[in-house]
């Protein structure tokens, strides 16, 4: 074997190992939303519990958390308590709002879910999935953060559990509420 060939093998192997090493610390399931930094698509519906009209437009000027969920989704059951906690923590502020969107869900099923799990903020049904399509929802649960200007700033893909809860409650929301610059959603 020529020296060049030997060197090539060694370099290729080292590069490969380095690549895998780096890869171990990346999250292959993290999917950046193409909508980050884009205006949030408007939607409207009726609150499943109170029957009152709810629309994104009515929250103009507020920081809004939009959570896509479904009664048939097991991860949504896990995260529900954390969403209620988030509302409890920030709900007192007049410039904060949360909306739940039951994605591809029948009204009765979604209502039964809320009756069982509790509801602290308005929830509407997106039974045809058209709001989900507007927001580019890959699968429930997904949670979007919208700033005072109606722009989507960050997206949480998957359930809001302890790590992602801290990320939302301690970094994303405080930054948006205090009008600070949020450089990255990671």
């Amino acid at each position: 074997m020529k020296t060049g060939a030997k060197m090539a093998i060694v370099i290729a192997l080292l590069a490969l190992v380095a690549l895998f090493w780096r890869g171990l610390y990346l999250d292959p399931r993290h999917i950046p939303s193409v909508l980050e930094g884009k205006p949030a698509p408007l939607f409207a519906g009726t609150d499943l519990v109170s029957g009152q009209a709810v629309s994104l437009a009515q929250f103009k000027g507020k920081v809004v958390v939009v959570n896509f969920w479904a009664s048939w989704c097991a991860e949504c059951i896990k995260e529900h308590a954390n969403l209620l906690k988030l509302q409890q923590e920030f709900g007192a502020r007049s410039d904060f709002a949360m909306v739940g969107v039951a994605y591809q869900n029948k009204v009765e099923d979604a209502r039964a879910f809320l009756a069982r799990m509790g509801a602290a903020y308005p929830n509407i049904v997106d039974d045809k999935g058209s709001i989900g399509i507007d927001y580019g929802v890959y699968g429930v649960p997904e949670t979007f953060l919208i700033d005072r200007h109606g722009m989507i700033r960050c997206k949480q893909f998957g359930p809001v559990l302890s790590d992602s809860y801290d990320k939302i409650a301690q970094r994303w929301l405080p930054a948006l509420l205090e009008n600070r610059e949020l450089t990255s959603c990671d």
Partner: protein, 651 residues
């Protein structure tokens, strides 16, 4: 109690494997045969201890011992016995134990089978296999023990993933592992040859059947995965170029290249460095497959739990194996000078060279496609998925090249062929290829690859038939036998060669199936009420209604369909949509009516009011794929019957 003993046995197995490493090192240093025997004993006992470990884990599953986290996570009380018994490898920890157990089994077998014939190689062989065992058992003991206990014993387990509750999936992983692990023995022999500096053809001869066996198991494992996907996932396809599928396909490609190039070294004493390189790459790709699957580095439909600490460990282990194996190859490459070079492009050596080129390019293609998303993300943070469109662009030409060579290779002699003779031999296959392509065109085929593919498949089929014919005629003329007896005599005289030809025939069948189902698939999405019907190709499918049915551990919605051709009812199909207890997502059970010409494939989707969404496929020639693989398997088994010497040849 038994489970505690089993856990302890696995820990003992680790120390025994370490003793195996030390004993073989001492044996190499001192040259004392007693130490080699210690090494062999250590390998035997490692196997015995791991067998005890497997038995203990199996017992834990069968006795519903939910104090073990692994048992609680992968089974429950409802699980049917068959799936309960095989849930052992339903998750990461158990799979790893199965892997290590197979490795110890192979190591013990190799030590026993080659003890007398390869006395000088033995300490190296024991060293390499014991070191690999230390690597795998350490991971089991320290990072992913299937014997880890839960703080509180749950009332019931979480159950096995419903998608895995299918016979196809039960046997897919063990076959893959038998393949992956099987390459460790040829790898160990190659390492022994490099370390000892005795780099003759001996290691190839010693490991030919090991390699063939591993290759066969890997082939079955891969195709079983495809078969399972076809029946269970309900998207009408069998191969999706998913990273985890690719991970098993890459070592298959390089192993296939190796199976061919080893013949060149045996016959012509060339390709020496190349063969060692190929077996190292094959084994390294097996480890890479483990790494990709178990570390979660790459996003895949096979959503295994990702855990960086395991990933780091496997990467480290792989790095050490790569460093030692390629290091030894580089250090010894001077000794591996080929004694002859290729005389002519019209020679069997040259067809093998091109064969290897195609297989290696194919492996590199899959490698690049699989790792490109990771590469891009590591450098730029961007996200891409490399899927079917990429592979469908680059793979068909390689496949066509390989099948074409399959027709030419066996007809060409070693060293140098007479071009006139070759023209004469290839005339008939070439004519048939042209005819087939023309016929395809007349029948309305317009796409280039399927048309060329049809021609190439016919070329290879006719060439293989000619090969059988000429061998049979040779024996008939020489020994005056009737043709069936002459064919048998010719085939059994050189089982290896004929086995290979049968494998090639299987490949041609498979290719026919791939072309048919890839190029002529009909797909339909319909929304049906009871009593509705729709047309699918020349068939009419009528939906009679849907009913609920209770299974052992699931509820199913069963759709009742009739398939009509004109006024004749040809099949009743019942696709199901199952909701397993403890599972969030419903699973589909496709219903398939298969003939040699086509599969009618139905899946039942969700209800929309009274109507049901139904997906229907008309997939031509799919059965040829599965049958082709069985033919390949039979051919390989036939070739495995061949001992080390071919009757009538001088040793």
């Amino acid at each position: 109690m038994f489970v505690t003993i089993a856990h302890f046995a696995v820990v003992v197995a680790l120390s025994l494997a370490a003793i195996g490493v030390l004993a073989s090192l001492v044996a190499l240093r001192t040259g004392l045969p007693a130490w080699v025997r210690v090494g062999r004993q250590a390998v035997y006992l490692t196997f015995a201890m791991l067998t005890l470990g497997m038995a203990g884990l199996e017992y834990a599953f069968l006795s519903h011992d939910y104090s073990l986290a692994y048992v609680a996570a992968n089974s429950n009380t409802d699980l049917p016995l068959f799936y309960l018994a095989t849930a052992l490898w339903g998750g990461h920890e158990g799979s790893l134990l199965l892997w290590a157990w197979l490795l110890s089994l192979y190591a013990a077998l190799a030590a026993r089978l080659h003890w007398n014939s390869h006395a000088r190689t033995m300490p190296y062989l024991l060293l390499v296999t014991s070191a690999l065992l230390v690597g795998f058992i350490s991971m089991i003991v320290f990072l992913s023990s299937p014997f880890a206990l839960l703080p509180e014993i749950p009332v019931d387990g979480q159950g096995l993933n419903p998608l895995l509750q299918d016979p196809g999936m039960v046997f897919h992983p063990p076959f893959l592992y038998m393949g992956y692990v099987g390459f460790s023995i040829p790898f160990a022999f190659a390492m022994a040859a490099l370390f000892s500096g005795r780099v003759s053809e001996e290691w190839l001869k010693a490991t030919r059947r090991w390699t063939l066996f591993a290759w066969l198991m890997l082939t079955f494992g891969i195709v079983m995965g495809g078969y399972w996907a076809y029946y269970e996932l309900g998207w009408g396809g069998y191969w999706a170029w998913d990273p985890v599928e690719n991970a098993s396909f890459m070592p298959w490609l390089t192993a296939t290249a190796f199976l061919h190039s080893m013949m060149v070294q045996e016959a012509r004493r060339s390709f020496k460095v190349w063969n060692v390189f190929l077996i190292i790459v094959t084994f390294a790709l097996s480890l890479l497959g483990t790494f990709l699957v178990r570390s979660g580095v790459i996003s895949s439909v096979h959503s295994f739990a990702s855990d960086p600490s395991r990933g780091v460990y496997i990467l480290l282990f792989m790095g050490i194996v790569l460093a030692f194996s390629f290091g030894a190859l580089i250090a010894r490459s001077g000794k591996l000078k080929s004694e002859v070079s290729i005389d002519s492009l019209a020679s069997r050596e040259a067809t093998f060279l091109f064969n290897n080129l195609f297989f290696l390019v194919a492996a590199a293609t899959v490698f690049v496609g699989t790792l490109y998303p990771l590469f891009l993300e590591a450098l730029t943070g961007g996200k891409v998925t490399v899927g079917a469109p990429y592979y469908n662009q680059v793979f068909p030409p390689l496949m066509l090249g390989i099948v074409l060579l399959m027709g030419i290779g066996p007809l060409i002699p070693w060293r140098k062929a007479s071009v006139a003779r070759l023209k004469q031999d290839l005339l008939l296959p070439f004519g048939c290829a042209l005819l087939a392509t023309a016929a395809g065109f007349m029948l309305g085929m317009r796409e280039a690859y399927p048309l060329i593919g049809l021609g190439v498949a016919c070329f290879a089929a006719v060439a293989i038939a000619l090969n059988f014919r000429s061998a049979t005629f040779g024996v008939m003329r020489r020994d005056g036998l009737s043709w069936p007896r002459a064919l048998w005599a010719a085939a059994t005289r050189n089982k290896r060669r004929f086995g290979g030809q049968i494998v090639h025939a299987g490949v041609v069948m498979m290719m026919a199936g791939l072309i048919g189902s890839g190029a002529f698939k009909t797909e339909k999405d319909v929304l049906l009420n009871a009593g509705d019907s729709f047309s699918l190709g020349s068939y009419t499918v009528r939906f009679q209604g849907a009913q609920f049915r209770n299974g052992h551990n699931y509820d199913a919605l069963v759709g009742f369909f009739e398939v009509w051709r004109g006024t004749e009812k040809i099949a009743e199909l019942r696709p199901e949509r199952r909701n397993y207890v403890n599972a969030a997502m419903p699973t589909t059970e496709a219903a398939i009516d298969d003939t040699w010409l086509r599969d009618i494939y139905l899946t039942l989707g969700s209800a929309n009011g009274d109507a049901y969404a139904v997906k229907a496929y008309l997939n031509p020639l799919v059965k040829w794929i599965w049958t082709g693989v069985i033919v390949m398997g039979l051919g390989t088994l036939f070739a495995l019957l061949q001992g080390r010497r071919i009757k009538g040849d001088k040793a």
